[in-house]
Every structure is written in C-alpha cells, then in structure tokens.
Amino acid sequence: MASIELPHIAAAARPRAPGLFARLARHLAKNPSALIGVSIYLVFVLVAALAGSIAPYDPIEILFTEDGQLAASLPPSAAHLLGTTNLGRDVFSQLVLGARPSLFVGLTAAVAVATIGSAVGLVAGYLGGWVDRALMRLADLVLGLPFLPFVIVLVALIGPSLQNIVLTVAILLWPNAARVIRSQVLTLSQRQFIEAARVTGAGEWRIMLVHIAPNIVPLAFLYGSIAVGWAILTQASLSFLGFGATDTISWGTMLQDAYASQALDREQFSWFVPPGICLVLVVLAGFLISRGYEELLFPKLGEG
C-alpha cells in the first residue's frame, strides 16, 4: 500500500537531511577560513541591523562646527571617527548605514539566483527533451553576454533601484547554478530511491518536488553564496559609474562621491579607504564561505 510505503521512501529521499546541520557545525570548527567568513558576515549583519543606533549622525546631514563654520573635510577625530566629506557629512555614519544596501543586494540576489537556478535545473534535468534543450541553450546565451555592460544597459532602461539591480544580477547569474543542478538532477533520477518512488505510484511532480528537490538544496545554497559577492560588487560598480540608486547611501555611492569630490587629490584616505575595505571583507567572506562549503559538499576537491 502506498500509504504505508511512503514514510520509508521519504526517509530514503533525504538520507542526509537531519545530519547536515550537525555536519555543518563540525565542519565549520575544522575549517578556519569558513569560520572567519561566517564571523565577518555576522558582524556586518549586526552592524546593519543596529546601524541607526551605531551611527552618531544622520549620514546626509550637513554638519557645522561650534563656531558656525561648515564642518567640511575634517580629519578623523573623536567627534568624527573617519572625518567628514567635503560637504560636511560624517563619513563614519555613512559607512555604518552603507552596510544595509550592500547586504540587502547580496542576500536577495543569493536567494533569487538559488531559486531560479533550482527551478530551471529541476525542470530541465527532470523533464529532459526539448524543454531541457531550450533552457540550456538559453543558459549558454546568457553566459555569453558581457556581464557589466549588460547590467549597465538594463538598469539604465528599467531604472536604477536596488530591486532592479538584484533582478539584473539574478537574470545573468542563474545559468551557472541551473547547469550544475541540472546534472545533479540527472544523476539523482537514476538512483534507486527514485525508482522505488515510481514503483509505489508517486506522480512525476511529486517525485520532482518531494524526492529530488530536497537533495539539490545544498548545491542551490552553494551557488547562492557565490552570487552574494557578485551582486555586492555589481551594485558598488554601478553606483560608482553613476547608475546606482541615488536616494540610498551605499559604499559604492560613498566611493563615487569621494572620487567626484577630489578626495584622492586631497589625500582624504579616511574617506575612501574604509568603504573599499568593507566591500573587500563582505565579498571575501562570501568567497571563504562558499569555498568551505564546497569542500563540505565535494570532500575530494579540498585535498592538497
């Protein structure tokens, strides 16, 4: 009877699911670089969440000194940890609040890439035939587009909001995830527990969603984590080129502001070095996590 057999098969379909988090924790302890990556993320998430109370000033408020002068281009001091911009804005406050758009773009793009990649990979791998061929040709085509120029053109046409930047990044990055997930689905379809499910009379959709989908979650997570860094760098580059959202302060807009205001000429390192370091740290954290996670998924690659 199907009703009796099903719990068995469900258990077989997700043989590693309960152990995964335990393995993850153990792996993290053994893998210092992944641990560093996770810690960096936690710090930035905390900063972004508490940004309102950490930042001493309103980031776009024009500040004046006690004697009524514009507080422009001040060097770092106790009152202004990283000095002020040429228009008298507090750099440190901008830096703290700049964590928000970066994390928003990075994390939503990760979710979007993982979702689209899984959906396309599942459908292409499981259905096969012309659906598979059409989707994979589409993936080839998207991978053949020049990344940043395409993002620039598309964002200029649909409007420079953070959501649109996430959308364009997702449009360009799903194929990598979809290809790998598709081949994983092809391998899984040959496995015995799928055969068993079919014998018990499970429908195609049920097999796809209940038996195969849970097994591609780790891969989707891996490609999502890779997308974090790409999305954050893309958003920063777009802001720098002047195509970013103009109403939000991000590390990219800070750098653009510093560049356009001759901060380089005036050697205001405290203005344009910290946003760059924050970008490096967040993107590097993404690299470290995805590398560590890759070793967890494919232990052989980690040797050497």
Partner: protein
C-alpha cells in the same frame, strides 16, 4: 574541421541572439528612444521628422529587418548626440581598449603563473597560508576602488604618473601608431594596467596552483622522482609545463570578459576606451552609440570564447573527437 564548423555556427547564432536581445531591449522599453535627445522646444512636426529619420515610425518587424541588415553590413547608424557614424566613434577608441586589456592580461598571467607555481611548490608553508587569502582578497576588491588607491598614491601623492586620459591634452601625432608608441601614451597606460593586472592575476595564480597540485599526483611525476630527477627539474620541466596549458584557454576567455569588465577601470582613469564610451552613451541616452559600443564588446567576448574553444580542441584532441 567539422568541430571548427560547428563551433563557428554556434558563434554566429550567439551573435545573432545577442543582437536580437539588444534590439528588443531598446525598442520595447516604455520610453521612446528618440525623446531623450530631443529638445523640449521641438514642435510635434519636427519630432515626427526626427523619428522618421531614425526609422522609428515604422512597424517593429520592419525596423528589426533593417537593423539586422545594417548590422550585417557593419552599419551602426548615427550617434544621437555627436551626429557621427557610430562605427567610426567605436573604432576610434577600440585600439585603446584592446591595448589596455592585452597589456594587463600579459602582466597578470606572467605574474599569476609564477605565483601559482611557487604556491604549489611550497604547499603547506607559511608563504602559501598567507598568500592564498591575499590572492582571494584581490579578487574580492572592487576594481574601481583599487584604481582609486593606485591613483591617490602614484598620481596624486608621488606624482609619478598622470591621473587620467591617454595622451596629454592637445598633443598631435602623425599617425595612430606614433601616438600609441609615444612615451606619453605609455606613461598614461601604466596605472590602469597595474590596477587591472592586480585584479586579474588572482585567477591564473589559483588555477596554476591547483593544476600543479593535481599534476604532481600523477604517475609520470612519480616516475620522474623514481628516476632520481631533482625536485626543481620535476617542477619546471614536468609539472609547470603541463599546468600551463589550461592557462592558455583561460587567457583567451579572460580577454573577452575583460574587454567588458574594463568599463569600470576605464572610467576611473578616464581612459578613452569602449567601456567609457558605453557609459557616456548610456548616461546621455545616446541609444545608437550605446548599442554600437555594447555590440562590439559582445562581439569581442563571443569571438574570444570561440577562439578559446578552438584552442581547447587543439590542446586536448579528445574534445574534438568526443563531442557530438
């Protein structure tokens, strides 16, 4: 030969598809591409005249056919702003971009291959433990920010190099060759090349390292060891040589990607190249120019991917015979 033909056909299809996507993007957008450049004081009649000039009053499919025919003939239309043929504007800056990209890639791959080889050679050492995260950090750094640091130090701080452009303003040269090989041009080239090379070296370095580590596990290396060859000789003659091959294809792929990725570097250093042209055109809603610059960037990318495919086939004959 059949392999070559198949890849070539594939390349043409990709080019056609990219051109079509771009056509649809620009035409199906809610805003009329001709409005932006039109003076608000234009009368409705003048507006129609301009639209007719650019062929924007015809049915979409007819516009598409004209567009494809023009592209096939290398005709990219007139720039809205400069009123000059787009092709001429694009070709004028193309050498700057190609030169920047190839110089940076050569520096990056020479340095990266050496670094990667020495990382593999000293695996497990402190040098390797520090270098690998450092290399990853250079891949994580935004290119434009690296460029800003380089500018602040070498152009503004030390005053060693100019801060932007490709030639001193107003300089005249007898020919394009003379301009490119002038000392002035090379001085302007140094900082953008340095910045781009810092960003690009990470990939060959990491690739070389993992290739070497993989090869050193193979039998012929064990064989060489058993023959009593010195570790140095094994490394250089056997491991490094074979590990270099995949870098050749990575170089070709990197070239294509970098021509598009240069957009940011060219803007930091005001380098008059394709990327800067694209950004200026998009910022000014000069659609024909933006379209032309984008298509040429895409063309370089697709052609380099094709060349990489061919080289991959040449270096590894199994690819040619196995694929169907």
């Amino acid at each position: 030969m059949a392999y070559f033909g198949r890849r070539f056909l594939h390349m043409l299809i990709v080019l056609w598809a990219i051109a079509t996507i771009l056509f649809l993007l620009f035409r199906l957008m809610p805003t009329d591409p001709s409005i932006a450049h039109l003076d608000p004081t234009f009368t409705e009649e003048q507006r129609q005249l301009v639209r007719a000039q650019f062929g924007l009053d015809r049915p979409l499919f007819e516009q598409y056919l004209i567009y494809m025919k023009n592209l096939a003939e290398g005709e990219f239309g007139l720039s809205f702003r400069q009123r000059q043929p787009v092709m001429g504007l694009v070709l004028a800056v193309l050498p700057n971009t190609l030169l920047l990209t190839s110089s940076a890639l050569i520096v990056a791959y020479l340095f990266g291959a050496l670094l990667g080889a020495s990382l593999a050679w000293r695996r497990g050492s402190l040098f390797e433990k520090i270098s690998v995260p450092l290399v990853l950090a250079t891949r994580a750094a935004p290119e434009f920010w690296l460029g800003m640091i380089v500018l602040a130090i070498f152009a503004f701080g030390l005053n060693w190099f100019p801060s932007g452009g490709a030639n001193v303003a107003g300089a005249r040269y007898a020919s394009e060759w003379e301009r490119i090989f002038s000392l002035d041009y090379l001085r302007h080239l140094v900082l953008p090349v340095l910045t781009l090379a810092i960003y690009l070296q990470g990939l060959p370095a990491l690739l070389m390292r993992s290739n070497m580590l993989e090869i050193m596990r193979e039998e012929f290396v064990t064989m060489a060891r058993m023959k009593g060859l010195s570790e140095r000789r094994i490394m250089l003659r056997h491991a490094a040589r074979n590990a270099l091959l995949p870098l050749v294809t990575a170089f070709a792929l990197g070239f294509g990607q970098s021509v598009g990725g240069n957009v940011v570097i060219e803007n930091v250093f005001s380098w008059p190249g394709l990327g800067r042209l694209l950004v200026d055109a998009v910022a000014n809603s000069d659609y024909p120019l933006a379209q032309g610059a984008f298509l040429v960037i895409a063309f370089v990318l697709v052609v380099m991917n094709f060349i990489a495919d061919l080289m991959y086939g040449l270096l590894d004959p199994r690819v040619v015979h196995g694929e169907h």
